[in-house]
Amino acid sequence: MKSWIKALQKTPGEWEICRIRQNYQSLKLVNGEPAALERSDRSGHALRLVVDDGQAFAFTRDGKPDRKLLEELEEIARGGARRPLKFTAPPLTEAQNDRSTGSALIDPAELLEPARQAAEHLLKIPGVSVDVNISSDEEELSICNSAGRNSSRFRQSLGFSITADLTEPGNMLTLPRGRELTVADHHLPLQLAEELAEEVSQARQVASFNAGQHEVLFSPRALGDILVALESGLNGQAIALGRSPLAGRCGEAILNEKLTLIEDPTLPGGNRGGIFDDEGIPCLIRPLVENGIMRNTLHNLQSATLAGTESTGNGHRLQMVFGRRDLRSRPGISRSHWRIDPGAETSQQLLGNIRDGLYADILVGSFMGDLTTGNFQATLWLGWHVIRGRIAGRVKNAMVTGNIYRILGEQLLALSQERGDPRENSGLQLPSALCRDVTVAC
């Protein structure tokens, strides 16, 4: 990286360089037997150049400076539309700088026996096949820029996922559970398998359901899926450009007063938490919505420059769905880790309040809607018909639609006391949410 920095220092304008190294080992078990091993160690440099307020971005695996690439970047930046961007270097505490977590890459085989036991537990159920994946990941990011930022961040995680595929005539269901673990969590794979086994057994019983408007209890997982619409509304660039329905509404009530949403990068799970974001800006604990009132937005350096403010440490690279982060991508704007303050009643009590409605456990596809408006349409992957407070069977072939500002606004009845584990929900620590008049199509 030093030679790249020397070369960049000779270019006009401002610059940023990230050296990124991703290293992982994963072990896949099929029906309880180890089947495939994967190993990767890749690194590269992501470069940004700003010349005369024009920008260029590049990613290269070359360890040594590529003069031709730098010349091309300068040409691109000079020839481009004006798009001011200011690199900054806000101070980091000593604890935040050069902090390493964890030790050398953990061998996933250390969890082989617990993984086998977990799979065997599920394989006892007729019609079920099981996939298990144990993955040990390391990510090292070093960032330097022309404003004087020079920091490193090291993350390590051990992930465990187990998927049960239920197949019987007229019924084909895939149920996943996943969690970030430590090696000491030997009991957790079996615990996850037991929870999954219960779900699979219940899922065999299919219930009818009438389309219309219903009371719906969203599980923490389902709530996490539809929150992507709120994340889109809080996007600082969308707000600065007047695209978001939340533009100009900081300080106003945008959601139900029961709802307080905090951005908390110290929460475990996911991979957008930690000390600083992918632009070297410190990540902070701060309220986004407080008792329904909007308090803050999400900015990266680009959107902050556009809005005439400072980055909020939300400059994160692309998170692939069901995959790793794509560290070759340019930092966009996304949440780090979130938590919603709990309510007073238990989930069981909330369920008990439903006369004839739905418990939406897993939703998929809400990201395909026009999220800027807050509208979403999600397929019910796993959901239950609730009659007089009791689960009456699984609902198939249904979709849940709505607008996030109404669902968590006037339609929100209550939040549960318990919250899901952020290590199972991509860094989201969420309660269940009971909402009225939710549209279900089936």
């Binding site: 590269g44 695996r61 072939n397 249904a398």
Partner: protein, 429 residues
């Protein structure tokens, strides 16, 4: 691999250059497999003895790739208009013009975006059976969208395209600005679809996404090869669709993003029949799944890039041409929708595919424009409800790609005529 990406949105441009390379190895030993990827061959050399040992310690005795004849083949770049002959300035100017023309359109467009991406990739594959293949290929894609706003309602229309050989395909987007802006404006004034069940006619684009999500992913054998129950449920001879329905997946689609002469295991690509007259006749196989299920590999093993192992993927997935006329399919519907274009989808027993816009069908006639319909179906029922297959087959290309097991976006294509399906769930906005 060398990549160029240009995007222009909200009057802001972003240009990205990427140079990427690497090496990977996959070892099959004693019934298990080990895959490793690194920046340099020297790094893999260090790991290799350990990989062989670890692979041998894994897996059941019978799990190994099916035997195929060694293939020695090169597939060079064959281009019509080579994007490397077009300057960066020209490309930027074209993308800017799409963006600016949308914003200047008399329909009153509030927001526009346009993007272009080209990748030139050289992939070399060698295995211990004697196969040596080299593929030098281009993947390019372009798209633009226009958003209109009426009060609280924001609606957009878009066009996208792609090719593996011809930059001129992207230039064709220029002729679509007027129709896209006009439709965006019309959609912003259109009512929402009421959620419910409808008889629907799908256009080529949407039908292509439908077949990809409704059956394509299910037909990828690695999603079922570990489950004896799923293998039985989807075994050849199973009736899954109506008698009119024939589905296949092919790598032989020259010019198309899903075109593949041979796959990333060195297996020649062919047309793979999946459903014929409603009956399952085959699946998509890699060498591993072919061995597990005692079938032939179909040339369907694809890796997103060198950092990922090949897994079973689609290429160009098609509903075969039928005999029905579009007018007859529409006139046969009392109360339904004519659904057009797609924003994507998700597969599974319950699959979802989003429409960009629809027209109501009442008493056999096309009616008002409506918006925000996401359609959902079930593998075991929806395919049987296809009762109309058009005589107007077309291959369609879209920007973006397919995602599976963390490998996204893989370039794929789809082909279909118009089709009619009875009783599909539509979730309105």
């Amino acid at each position: 691999m060398e990549r160029l990406a240009i995007s222009h949105a909200d009057r802001q441009e972003a240009v990205t250059r990427e140079k990427n390379s690497g090496v990977s190895v996959r070892v099959f030993a004693g019934g298990g497999s080990a895959f490793a990827t690194a920046d340099s061959p020297e790094q893999l050399d260090e790991w290799l003895p350990g990989l062989i040992q670890q692979a041998g310690a894994l897996g059941s005795a019978g799990d190994h790739p099916a035997r195929v004849a060694p293939l020695k083949r090169r597939s060079p770049l064959r281009l019509r208009l080579d994007p490397r002959c077009v300057s960066l300035t020209e490309k930027r100017d074209f993308i800017h013009s799409l963006h600016d023309r949308c914003l200047a359109h008399p329909a009153g467009i509030a927001q526009a975006s346009a993007s272009y991406e080209e990748q030139i990739i050289r992939r070399i594959f060698v295995n211990s059976d004697g196969t040596e293949t080299q593929r030098h290929f281009l993947d390019l894609q372009g798209s633009f969208s226009a958003t209109a706003i009426q009060g609280d309602v924001r609606q957009f229309d878009f066009e996208s395209t792609g090719s593996n050989r011809d930059y001129a395909v992207v230039l064709g987007l220029g002729g679509m600005v007027d129709s896209v802006c006009t439709m965006a404006n019309a959609l912003s004034r259109a009512p929402k679809v009421e959620p419910g069940r409808y008889d629907v006619v799908l256009d080529h684009l949407l039908a292509g996404v439908f077949v990809h999500e409704a059956f394509g992913h299910t037909a990828e054998a690695d999603s079922i090869s570990s489950s004896p129950e799923r293998m039985r449920l989807l075994s050849p001879g199973t009736v899954l669709g109506s008698r009119k329905l024939t589905i296949y997946d092919t790598g032989r689609a020259p010019g198309s993003r899903g075109h593949l002469p041979f796959d990333d295991e060195g297996v020649l690509c062919e047309r793979s029949m999946l459903i014929e007259r409603g009956v399952v006749t085959g699946l998509l196989h890699s060498r591993l799944t072919a061995n597990r299920m005692k079938m032939k590999p179909t040339g369907s093993a694809r890796a997103l890039d060198v950092a990922h192992p090949p897994i079973v993927r689609m290429r160009c997935t098609c509903i075969a041409q039928g005999r029905d006329h579009l007018e007859d399919m529409i006139s046969g519907i009392d109360d339904g929708l004519y659904c057009c274009k797609s924003k994507g989808g998700i597969g599974g027993e319950m699959f979802t595919f989003t429409t960009l816009y629809s027209r109501r069908i009442k008493n056999g006639k096309l009616g008002e424009l409506v918006r925000d319909a996401t359609l959902s179906g079930n593998l075991f029922t929806t395919l049987r409800e296809i009762d109309g297959i058009g005589n107007d087959f077309r291959v369609t290309e879209m920007a973006g790609g397919c995602g599976k097991d963390g490998q996204f976006p893989l370039p794929v294509s789809a082909g279909s005529p118009h089709i009619r399906i009875r009783g599909v769930i539509a979730g309105g906005g």
